[in-house]
């Protein structure tokens, strides 16, 4: 699937500390402006090409995350954003944590960092939009 110039993202907070959310906020703010490369946050998984997951997956969010993934039309991508999403980060071993994102849904791209710098998020998105 060619997502050149058009990448709709659905963001799911699976249990993050909200640090990653602040970086996502600035990715779409005036400084980094991911809209300029054709990326956009959307309000429904039905509209999305990629799922942007932050945080370790808590027990309560495991099934909503999986259902969000299944609600997306194919072809669909999953981006695990932040160290928590990759390997539970500082929350690993926590009593509320069910596992990393890859334990629940197949991950296509990981963005490391705690939290990742907006620059890194934009350049990761660029790999899909080719711009």
């Amino acid at each position: 699937m060619n997502l050149r110039h058009s990448l709709q993202l659905r963001h799911v907070d699976a249990g993050s500390c909200n640090g990653c959310e602040i970086e996502i906020g600035s990715v779409f703010g005036p400084v980094y402006d991911a809209e300029r490369i054709g990326a956009r946050l959307v309000a429904s998984p039905r509209h999305a090409d990629a799922l942007l997951v932050t945080g370790p997956v808590t027990h309560n969010m495991a099934s909503p995350l999986e259902r969000t993934y299944l609600a997306m039309p194919e072809p669909r991508l999953v981006i695990a954003l932040g160290d928590c999403a990759r390997d539970c980060g500082v929350f690993s071993g926590g009593y509320a944590v069910a596992g990393a994102v890859a334990d629940v849904v197949p991950v296509d791209l990981e963005i490391p960092g705690c939290p990742p710098h907006p620059d890194e998020i934009v350049s990761a998105l660029r790999r899909f939009t080719n711009r």
Binding site: N2, H5, P30, D33, G38, A43, S44, R46, P73
Partner: protein, 315 residues
């Protein structure tokens, strides 16, 4: 209806179909620039539509044929109006029977279809969006119909072509108080009907504040592409009708090719200017609380009523 007018209709349709998403893209660029961002390219809506058309189509398991046909109804009604309305020229097909009220109701069929489709998904936000969209629709239609009455009074006719033609022939009618009041009410109606600020925020992600966006949350792939195309066509049509009622300069009086080119350029320029103005207005205003909306729409209604009254008094 002859060949020339059919050709003219096809030109108008092509302009609205191609130009609608570009208009949407332009308005997004203007908003981004004013927010200090570079923003997406103007062609972004087309890129989104092209990509969506190639994606999988998902349908809620409990939904019926209404959900499936609503996007087509939306596009078809917009296309019908694009062919028949006096956008580029005063000589579109069926000119003698293009009634303003009929045009409004054809467009209304599209919005009702979308609201029914949202109910059909049986999701909480779909139902909420449908209820809100139809509430606003019920408040907008009276204002719109009274505004049409005010516009049609000098001619004793609701023929849309005749109204626009009268304006282009006798420029003085364009400055009449009744005409101006009716057009002010028309502005409120357009902002509400096309889901722009301050009525609805087209770029919101908060489900609880959504109106029109909530209707389409379940659409995906080609269906969503059709909805996006249909909505941008409607926006282009509303703005196109508005500019031709305000200032029908350049509109082609006949189906002569040269006149058509002039009409095409004139319409594009006028709609671009109005689109930019609307986008600037959107950046500088906040969304109205849902319960304050009836006040705004009642204001639009009052303006239309005043238009009728002044029109009647001044005769």
């Amino acid at each position: 209806m002859n060949l020339a007018s059919l050709l003219v209709g096809a030109v108008q349709l092509a302009l609205v179909v191609l130009g609608g998403p570009l208009l949407l893209g332009l308005m997004r660029v203007v908003r981004s620039r004013l927010e200090g961002r570079v923003g997406p390219p103007v062609s972004q809506p087309w890129r989104d539509i092209a990509k969506l058309a190639r994606k999988q189509r998902t349908r809620p398991s409990e939904s019926s044929w209404i959900f499936a046909v609503a996007p087509l109804v939306l596009v078809a009604t917009a296309a019908t109006v694009a062919v028949l309305a006096p956008l580029v020229t005063l000589a579109p097909p069926l000119a003698s029977s293009t009634d303003f009220i009929a045009v409004i109701f054809v467009l209304l069929v599209g919005s009702v279809a979308l609201a029914l489709a949202a109910l059909d998904t049986a999701t909480a936000f779909g139902g909420m969006g449908a209820s809100r969209a139809l509430t606003i629709g019920a408040l907008v239609e009276p204002a719109l119909l009274v505004a049409v009455l005010a516009l049609s009074m000098p001619l004793h006719s609701t023929n849309l072509i005749a109204i626009v033609a009268n304006g282009s022939r006798h420029a003085s009618t364009l400055l009449g108080p009744s005409h101006l009041l009716a057009l002010c009410s028309f502005i409120v109606v357009i902002l509400a009907e096309s889901g722009r600020l301050p009525v609805d925020n087209p770029s919101t992600h908060l489900e609880l504040t959504m109106i029109y966006e909530a209707l389409i949350l379940e659409y995906s792939g080609p269906d969503l592409a059709a909805v996006t195309l249909g909505e941008s066509m409607r926006l282009a049509i509303w703005l196109g009708l508005f500019v031709n009622l305000v200032a029908p300069v350049g509109i082609a009086a006949t189906a002569h090719p040269l006149a058509l080119v002039v009409g095409l350029v004139a319409l594009t320029l006028k709609v671009v200017v109005v689109g930019i103005v609307v986008a600037i207005f959107e950046v500088t205003t906040a969304k109205l609380r849902l319960f304050r909306l009836p006040e705004l729409l009642a204001g639009g209604f009052i303006l239309a009523v005043l238009g009728v009254v002044t029109g009647a008094v001044m005769r």
